[in-house]
Symmetry: C2
Subunit: 251 residues, 2 copies
């Protein structure tokens, strides 16, 4: 028995398309990520696609995330649609990014694993969209490169600049994220980079404890934001260093 | 056991929406007809909706046809979405026409049967779209009101006019329909209204015989087109009438 939809792994946020509505729906979105697959998909790749869908829906309205189920039994539903894009049971799933119409598209590289991170990279590389880790904001991440190694005056200037960015944000989730970014910026400015490791441990400890699912999500978002502050090599002197040589801390 | 998708009556052309993608998809289309229902719908109303979907997809790109499956078990998927539009198991299915955004919508009247024809009328009444009988073209239907009762010169003028309309048509199915309209216009002009009854009978006979499904569809399209020529009362004198009084023919 083929798996049925009540048992199949759902793909929340994914739109299932067929031969009648494929073209008409694709053209309505600036970008569409489509997974051509068997009719009732399951397994790691499908789950990754579903996880990607949830992540994408948190941050953008511009990307349609869709599936096409191709049957090679019964009425051969969508077989012709699969053939248009040269997808069949030898190369399921075929993942394609459409750029606003059915003629311009990029195929997800066959040699890449279908993981959430690879799908996010695929989107970032081929569109102006950025689907980062949950809770992260692109413009904040970009502004914070090497933050921990900057001079205090530079850090304070960045704090002022990103406060202005924060005031432009519309969505409550984005404002909440910005608040966390700014808090970490201030703490690192005041306490130095040691705050990063302490806070990471603190958040991980809380997350492993008895907390609600919603709280776990919130803690993971903070951990993701904290990741943006990680530097590979700390080159800035800490305030409490007794010697003149800055401690080189490989991370 | 709840019916599963492999047994459920499919709704070809229908897009199944959920809480993550509902708003984002509705706003992308000029019009959206959405059926809020149980998670695995079946029965007359669902079948009518599916038949309507196929009919609509033949003639327009502007109407999204969608379903939302509301579960009152398990993870209560889409329950909140149903509540936004005051749909629950007491009044399934709830059918709504959205006018390009989630705030402007018209509800399909609860007292009307959910039939293909009623759905078509609902669309015609509330949008600029026209989803007529299979094979029909709105501008031809409109031009042919009371055609059989017009003077020959008027009929010939209409034939010339609609030949020009035919040359503007892009889709092969539409050109095929126009060809049938013009043929019937000529025959009625040459032979009078008796052609209508004879041709109707001829097409019905063929359709009831051993013909392929595709041929049956074609014959039904011709019958639908012929319907556009039906007049309730024939007021025009036939050429072979021996008396001066026109035969009144109630139909």
């Amino acid at each position: 028995l083929a798996p049925n939809n009540s048992w199949a792994i759902s793909c929340t946020g994914c739109v299932d398309l067929d031969e009648l509505n494929f073209d008409k729906t694709i053209v309505r979105f600036p970008y569409s990520l489509v997974k051509f697959d068997i009719a009732f998909p399951y397994g790691e790749k499908h789950e990754a696609f579903g996880a990607f869908s949830k992540a994408a829906h948190k941050v953008t309205d511009e990307l349609l995330i869709a599936t096409v189920g191709i049957k090679d039994y019964g009425e051969l539903e969508n077989k012709a649609l699969g053939e248009r894009f040269k997808v069949d049971d030898k190369n399921f799933p075929g993942i394609y990014l459409f750029l606003g119409n059915v003629k311009e598209y990029v195929q997800f590289p066959a040699h890449l694993d279908v993981t959430v991170d690879n799908l996010k990279s695929f989107i970032s590389s081929n569109t102006q969209l950025y689907i980062g880790r949950d809770g992260c904001l692109k413009q904040f991440n970009d502004a914070l490169k090497d933050y921990a190694n900057k001079e205090s005056a530079q850090q304070l200037a960045l704090i002022a600049e990103l406060k202005k960015e924060q005031s432009k944000l519309q969505k409550p989730e984005e404002q909440k994220s910005a608040k966390a970014y700014l808090l970490f910026m201030r703490k690192i400015n005041e306490q130095g980079y040691s705050f990063h490791e302490e806070e990471t441990k603190r958040l991980l400890r809380l997350k492993a404890g008895k907390v609600t699912e919603a709280k776990k999500v919130e803690l993971q978002q903070k951990l993701n934001i904290l990741e943006a502050f990680r530097v590979n090599k700390l080159t800035k002197a800490t305030e409490s260093a007794p010697t003149t040589a800055p401690p080189a801390k490989e991370l």
